[in-house]
Symmetry: C2
Subunit: 373 residues, 2 copies
């Protein structure tokens, strides 16, 4: 790919432009707001100009509901050989392109899983997509050339291509992004009506849980509207879940012992299902430790020994997902510390700790002696 056009120089469009510019691609920028395109250009993302001949690929970086109109307009004036977009809803643009675009075979939907709280070109970063998934949703008509150019774009941005059907994508993001956004907004909106004490007891947990609610409301309104059927479905499921949870809390607030026990079971069951659900999110500690390995280290029962061990583990560059201490096997006076670490790290940790004089074993090594006791 030698030439590219970016239509819409907000956070994502400008970041794409910066990323491919860094890999030697010539980029033509445009935005319905002239200042936004000039800002992107001033950041070094490309030039604000109309290409003299069709570029290899045009990236349409506008809200979901506008993708198709922009695609039609661009294809009619022959802006590019192939086209993709970066909107976070995929079925609506695809359906519109298939029925209305002059060359639907020259379009493939795309959605890079990357973003920031801040929006606009000034928030753009060439590294925004590094190691992030970038979903591509080829339609039955999408040409091989279009698919290949989109794959090249993903590679130029340092992202990981993931291919799925547009409907599959939309059903998934309704659960992982769109409904969580609405729940965060509902929680944040409740803060407006509360007593002044609220801000005194607001901590990091609340900040994290509501952070996504800070996104631009017009853009998010557009996103949610464009995926309304899938979002409505998940929202109804959550509404049902909540309808079951309210009586459980009511029971816990009441005085009937049996009801309270039942309420507590419902509550802890939900909390446990939540914990196991987190394992499905890549990059969370629990997901990582699912295929982790346990390392056991003997700790002399003297003040400071455990602190010394934790320092040694940190020194070796190891971040333990999970650590626990209990009495050493065999009834000795020492303690045993257990660390769960990613599989490949376990060997390094054991070797490093042994070199430091610690009694460290991988848990499966330790199994036999334990069985013999």
């Amino acid at each position: 790919m030698r030439t590219m056009a970016v239509i819409g120089t907000g956070l994502i469009g400008t970041s794409v432009a910066l990323a491919v510019r860094g890999r030697g691609v010539a980029v033509y920028l445009s935005d319905r707001t002239g200042a936004a395109a000039r800002t992107a250009a001033a950041l070094g993302a490309g030039v604000v100009a109309t290409p003299q001949e069709p570029v290899d690929l045009a990236v349409i970086a506008v809200p979901p509901s506008q993708v198709c109109a922009v695609l039609i307009e661009a294809q009619e004036r022959g802006l590019a050989r192939c086209y993709t977009d970066v909107a976070s809803v995929k079925a609506v643009p695809e359906r519109a392109a298939l029925s209305r675009a002059p060359a639907p075979d020259r379009y493939i939907g795309g959605h890079p899983l990357a973003g920031r709280e801040r929006s606009g070109p000034l928030a753009a970063r060439a590294e925004l997509f590094l190691d992030r998934n970038w979903v591509l949703t080829p339609s039955p008509l999408t040409s091989d050339e279009t698919f290949d150019l989109a794959l090249e774009l993903v590679e130029l941005c340092g992202a990981v291509p993931v291919v799925m059907r547009s409907q599959e994508h939309d059903a998934a993001v309704a659960v992982t992004s769109h409904v969580p956004h609405l729940m965060a907004s509902l929680i944040a909106a409740r803060l407006r009506e509360g007593p002044p004490a609220l801000s005194l007891v607001a901590g990091q947990g609340l900040r994290d849980a509501t952070r996504i609610a800070g996104g631009d409301s017009r853009l998010w309104g557009d996103i949610l509207r464009s995926n309304a059927p899938a979002v409505a479905g998940v929202l109804k499921d959550l509404h049902t879940d909540l309808s079951r949870l309210v009586p459980a809390l009511d029971a816990l607030a009441g005085s009937d012992g049996g009801d309270r026990d039942q309420g507590m079971r419902t509550l802890v069951d939900l909390l446990d299902r939540g914990i196991s659900g987190l394992a499905g999110i890549p990059g969370t500690g629990r997901a990582a430790s699912a295929d982790g390995q346990r390392v056991r280290v003997g700790v002399p029962d003297r003040p400071g020994e455990l602190a010394r061990l934790l320092a040694a583990v940190t020194e070796l560059g190891v971040v333990a997902e999970d650590a626990a201490v209990d009495g050493a096997a065999g009834g000795g006076s020492g303690l045993a510390a257990r660390f769960t670490v990613p599989g490949p790290v376990a060997e390094r940790l054991v070797t490093g700790l042994r070199a430091d004089g610690w009694e460290a074993v991988r848990e499966h090594d330790a199994r036999l002696p334990l069985l013999q006791e």
Copy 2:
């Protein structure tokens, strides 16, 4: 304060012990799990022993429902002169203490607003409470000496004391912590039943929104049960909000134009209320920029100039909450960049940029020339 007892050496208890040990206080540790107390001692948090004479202050660091039983047991054996706890629910322990403890005047409720995803003594940090709010909830009976010792504890931990009534505290944390936790659990639980594509489109937003759901389910069950009336109230409000939102999404998924418009208004109104609710959370960008000041900088319309300005701003150690670029006033060919920064920083930013040769003004300075145009 010279001596302290910590009952319950989990994350919070051990962190309290580490913090006050660092300030020269002698700490006696205990935990119903012997290994946990020995672990805390091995970390340098104190000694596992029964004090020979009453300590100045005992810190009860156990789940909310157990605070009162532990308080009664400790007061009966004369462990300390005064007592506090660190549970995140305050009315239940206070009510129980007032009706059942041998010396309710020697108890004051406390709740440090600090925590980590990891639990247990190994996750403890002496710095955990630094600059965090620490709520104290004196009852009508709490003695001055008890209050003073609790204030000294907060100071020793480097935290900020905040005084409120226990009911006021519980109503507030129901909104800021307990209900957000349940919503995070509901969202995370939904991930278990979804298609495999879910994990491919799960990003940082979802990780943040659900992080709190990873907390220990038995501890959280206890917390939520202990604050059930307040939690049930907020949960019902959210249920009502959701009952209004579902039809809006249904309307957006339908084909009636009027219904769609109405649904969109409901949706965007919620998103906007969420954004304004975030302003009530200290430490979020939007809260900070509420009393921020705008700085305007002229940018020559040449490639790279804006990148050079952003680098200069960063070089000055300034984090702009909000930045925007538009055409310069007066119709010139340049751009104007606007940064919103906390008030005290504005002067420093302007002076620093001018020294670097930029045309920088504080926005209120800029108002007059604009009016004259």
